[in-house]
């Protein structure tokens, strides 16, 4: 039932609109048009847009019921690897939504912005401290935009030195899809580096790949195969020696918060997904925030705006103040409401709490990994510690029982667990990337192991159960192929086809 199906001509949630506002004549009676309000007839809309016409109760009920069809952290264990679905403290939401914050116009003068600028400045400082970087800009609107900013800074750096032949960015094959896509957007070529059998980057391959064309490398460490690359120093030397820079994809920062700092590992630039490590809401697909941190030599290139402090006062720095900046990435400088939430979260954690994030996310991941191993599941990297996530491969189950990872995933939904990330990273066949996060309790993890074990038994005995899963959700298995073939991307009023 779409909201449009509840629509009837003339139905209104009237209290919502200004009651006194006259409806311009033109839309009341398409024939009779006047310019009394200064809007030329030719530029006016001829027909009212086909938006739904519903009552306030209908809208409230419709969207309340829709919400209930979602899995979410607030309702389910959601071990979606690389996405860090941990608890989003409710206080962050209510405090970032205080009227004073919501009402502030982005172009308000500094004289009327000191409260929020203090928060942003302190957040910049805290992010510097936890990453070991020299400068931080909060501007990027999500991780991928942080990546773009990051590789653009790498490019700006080389260009500024006249080193304009460095047009290749190295990306491990385990990397998230945004990494190569971002590099391309910054005008680079992308070269893939294979991952070794132990999960670390194949350092020999890397050595062979670097050269005068190397602008840099984009690394996630711990990587998306869920291990900390033990050769990180060697990698750093190799790339730096070749004249390249190191980019740190901070999506997995949760695993090492307060334990090891990208700056100390030798990275030149990093983005952080605040909607992961700093627990801002994922919101069914965003908003995110992807601040970037840089070493001293990249500092001039940071995207604007930045907040600086001068005595007791905070000031913005924009294009004019930072001529070498790679520029502006959104009109108004970033997802401020998300930055506020991250600030509040960081303040509640403090230094101790940050270390605990790493400790307990590692504890949960390694415990879950140990239990699944004992339960007979095959680990992709059995010799390694898990970081905050790890990979199970179901290739045996696929071969022996004729079910695949997606079947497993869908059946997990029936048991009330959101599925881990499936088929990513691409290099491990039939894989599940599992990230429990530090905010889940042991009983949830144990329950997940039980469900996995049960499902494997089902796979053996009644594989159909899996193949037809889910059975207990608002819909049965959806036909993705059909969705792409018979594109239906928007509701249309009956008369127009």
């Amino acid at each position: 039932m779409l909201i449009h199906d509840l629509s009837r001509p003339g139905r209104r949630a009237t209290a919502q609109a200004p009651l006194q506002a006259p409806i311009p004549e033109s839309t009341q009676a398409p024939g009779a048009r006047s310019d009394a309000d200064g809007l030329p007839a030719a530029l006016r809309r001829k027909r009212r847009a086909a938006l739904p016409e519903v009552s306030e109760l209908q809208a409230v009920r419709h969207y309340t019921r829709l919400s209930q069809k979602n899995f979410s952290i607030d309702t389910h264990f959601y071990p979606l690897g690389s996405c860090t679905m941990k608890y989003n403290p409710r206080a962050c939401n209510s405090l970032a939504s205080l009227p004073g914050f919501l009402a502030r116009h982005p172009a308000a003068p500094e004289s009327h912005s000191q409260g929020i600028m203090a928060c942003l400045f302190e957040l910049q400082e805290m992010l510097k401290a936890v990453t070991g970087m020299h400068g931080v800009s909060l501007a990027p609107a999500a991780g991928a935009q942080g990546e773009l900013a990051g590789v653009m800074m790498i490019r700006a750096y080389h260009d500024a030195r006249g080193d304009t032949d460095r047009r290749e960015i190295l990306v491990p094959d385990a990397a998230h899809g945004t990494n190569p896509a971002s590099a391309i957007m910054a005008g680079f070529d992308v070269r893939e580096i294979p991952t070794g059998a132990d999960g670390d980057v194949d350092i020999d391959a890397l050595r062979r790949a670097v050269g005068p064309q190397t602008a840099g490398i984009m690394l996630t460490n711990p990587s998306t195969v869920g291990v900390f690359d033990r050769n990180i120093q060697a990698i750093a030397h190799t790339v730096h020696d070749a004249g390249g820079l190191l980019y740190y994809d901070g999506a997995n920062l949760n695993a090492i918060l307060g334990k090891v700092r990208p700056g100390d590992m030798g990275f030149d630039v990093i983005h952080m997904n605040l909607h992961k490590t700093f627990s801002t809401p994922h919101g069914g697909g965003g908003p995110g925030a992807g601040p970037v941190g840089v070493s001293k030599r990249l500092e001039p290139y940071l995207p604007v705006p930045l907040v600086v402090r001068d005595g007791d006062e905070y000031h913005w720095q924009a294009e004019g103040d930072r001529p070498d900046s790679i520029g502006r990435l959104t009109a108004f400088g970033g997802n401020m409401g998300i930055l506020l939430r991250a600030y509040i979260y960081a303040r509640m954690l403090g230094a101790e709490g940050m270390r605990r994030v790493a400790d307990y996310s590692a504890l949960n991941a390694n415990y879950l990994m140990a239990r699944l191993r004992t339960a007979g599941f095959q680990l992709a990297y059995p010799e390694r510690r898990a970081s905050h996530e790890f990979i199970v491969t179901l290739k045996h189950e696929a071969k022996n029982f004729g079910v695949n990872t997606m079947d497993f995933a869908k059946r997990l939904l029936d048991y009330g667990y959101h599925a881990p990330t499936t088929y990513f990273p691409l290099l491990v066949p039939e894989c599940l990337l599992i990230e429990p996060t530090e905010t889940e309790d042991k009983e949830s993890l144990d329950g997940f192991v039980d469900a996995m074990t049960t499902i494997r038994a089902e796979a053996e005995q009644q594989p159909q159960l899996l193949k037809e899963a889910p059975h207990r959700l608002p819909v049965r298995r959806l036909d993705d192929v059909r969705a792409a073939r018979h594109l239906d991307l928007a509701w249309r009023p009956a008369e127009s086809g």
């Binding site: 919502q16 006194q20 006259p22 311009p24 033109s26 309000d37 030719a42 530029l43 006016r44 938006l51 969207y63 829709l66 209930q68 979602n70 996405c83 941990k86 206080a91 405090l95 004073g100 914050f101 116009h105 982005p106 308000a108 004289s111 409260g115 401290a129 990546e147 773009l148 899809g177 945004t178 190569p180 896509a181 900390f228 100390d264 069914g284 697909g285 908003p287 995207p303 004019g320 520029g327 959104t330 009109a331 108004f332 997802n335 401020m336 409401g337 509040i344 960081a346 303040r347 509640m348 101790e352 307990y360 590692a362 510690r385 309790d441 819909v475 049965r476 298995r477 959806l478 991307l489």
Partner: protein, 465 residues
């Protein structure tokens, strides 16, 4: 431990299962010399109560000035239901709907949003959001260049009366992708862009023309004429529109003979608080022919194994997680929660409600600019029709005037000087439907006083600008 559920017993049992003695052992693959020492610079943790106190003080600190700034972000009334529902845990704390069956709530919202945006813009398809209006325009520019099969030029015409922050954002983002942005000047009398100016600026071939409606000055463009002009040159047309304005103004899909090809813009007016500039939401719609060039998530309707309707992300082959370096964009996380808010907002207002809002804003801004123009030396900067925002010429330096007003807790508008030195002293003002007559009076009276002081102080004789 805040947010961590582990008891000592849990930890002991879990370590035993793993087979290590201490949690720190789990980090033994990290080279010891890399291990972080202190987190100096991160203060000690505080309780929820303490941080509440801090944030309440900071939220209060900046007062709630009376705001007459528009310039791309607009204070509208947001029905209370919008955010009470949007922040329900099931929407707020869900991820991108990768498991469609467990995310029908979000997916259906995306589909409904796409339906509403196509209705508003008059185009065939919509994606499910981009970061904001400015970055959406950058994506639209890239998309247009990719999509234009007739003209292989990398040149795109960007009018100077487009929002300056948009122009800068587009420039930053497309800089390394071989796009050439050609600035088109505006008519000094009307504030709009004329075909003659386009003709002159275009020179040779170009892939696309960007048309803001209304433009940054609030001035209405002759969209039909401009669209036909560009189409006649085989260029694509990208409309940059305010979704609330679309309730009254001709939608991009209706522009000219064939309609604009792409429409994008800032979704903030659809239920997002000003919130210092974000999170907002960028929208991007296009004709069906270009759907495979659209960046960002798209939800589609399909059937489940029982033949029931359901929703799923579709056309994922465009996206980075499948296509990696060949994707239409690197975009991944974007503005799902804001899409939820916008969808509920539009459902509550409906087309008529949006019309009322648009009409009320327009009437209020007209009233404001009329009143302000009663003040000697204040006059409209342009003579063309405007929507909902107006550029004024001032008889004193804008920055000084704004500073004086701010001292009285009035944010008097957007200073056009820094971005358009040629127009100085000029001010862009806006009064949405939330401003009352008393508010307008207060502004008028203060501005009259400020200007009187300034002009008298400096010019014993009536100044003529």
């Amino acid at each position: 431990m805040p947010f961590i559920p582990h008891t000592e017993d849990d930890v002991a049992a879990m370590l035993a299962t793993i087979g290590v003695d201490r949690i720190d052992d789990l980090f033994d693959e990290i080279p010891p010399e890399l291990r972080a020492k202190d987190l100096d610079g991160v203060p000690a943790g505080v309780s929820e109560m303490d941080i509440s106190r801090v944030m309440q003080a900071r939220a209060r600190e900046d007062g709630q000035p009376l705001c007459f700034i528009g310039a791309g972000a607009y204070e509208h009334h947001i029905p209370a239901a919008v955010w009470q529902i949007t922040t329900r845990g099931e929407f707020y704390s869900a991820y991108t709907p990768y498991q469609a069956e467990a995310s029908q709530g979000t997916l259906q919202v995306l589909y409904e949003f796409q339906s509403m945006m196509t209705a508003l813009t008059g185009l065939d398809v919509s994606n499910a959001s981009l970061y904001d209006g400015a970055s959406a325009l950058a994506e639209a520019v890239l998309m247009a260049v990719r999509a234009n099969r007739k003209v292989k030029s990398p040149r795109v015409l960007l009018p100077r009366n487009l929002h300056p922050a948009y122009r800068r954002t587009v420039r930053s983002i497309v800089r390394h992708q071989g796009i050439e942005l050609v600035e088109v000047p505006f008519d000094r009398a009307g504030g709009h862009t004329t075909v003659e100016q386009l003709e002159a600026a275009a020179g040779g071939e170009f892939a696309a023309l960007v048309i803001p409606q209304p433009n940054f000055f609030g001035v209405l463009e002759e969209v039909d004429e401009l669209t036909d002009w560009a189409h006649a040159r085989n260029a694509l047309v990208i409309g940059v529109v305010n979704p609330v304005a679309l309730a009254l103004l001709s939608p991009p899909g209706d522009w000219g003979t064939a309609g604009a090809d792409i429409a994008c813009g800032e979704g903030q007016p659809l239920g997002m608080p000003l919130a210092s500039g974000g999170p907002y939401l960028g929208f991007l719609c296009c004709k069906h022919a270009f759907v495979r060039q659209l960046p960002g998530r798209i939800a589609g309707k399909t059937l489940d194994a029982d033949g029931q309707e359901g929703f799923t992300l579709t056309l994922q082959a465009r996206e980075q997680h499948i296509r990696r370096s060949k994707a239409t964009s690197n975009i991944c996380t974007n503005q799902g929660l804001l899409v939820t808010a916008a969808t509920i907002h539009m459902a509550l207002l409906g087309a008529e409600g949006l019309e009322r809002v648009a009409a009320a804003c327009h009437a209020n801004s007209r009233k404001l600019s009329d009143r302000l123009c009663e003040i000697p030396g204040v006059e409209p900067l342009f003579d063309r029709p405007v929507f909902h925002e107006r550029a004024l010429r001032l008889p004193a330096p804008t920055a000084d005037v704004l500073r004086s007003l701010a001292a009285h807790n009035i944010l008097g508008g957007f200073d056009l000087g820094p971005d358009y030195p040629e127009l100085e002293p000029a001010l862009l003002v806006c009064a949405t439907e939330v401003r009352t007559d008393d508010d307008l009076d207060a502004y008028h009276d203060k501005l009259a006083r400020v200007i009187a002081t300034r002009t008298q102080a400096r010019c014993p004789v009536e100044p003529k600008f």
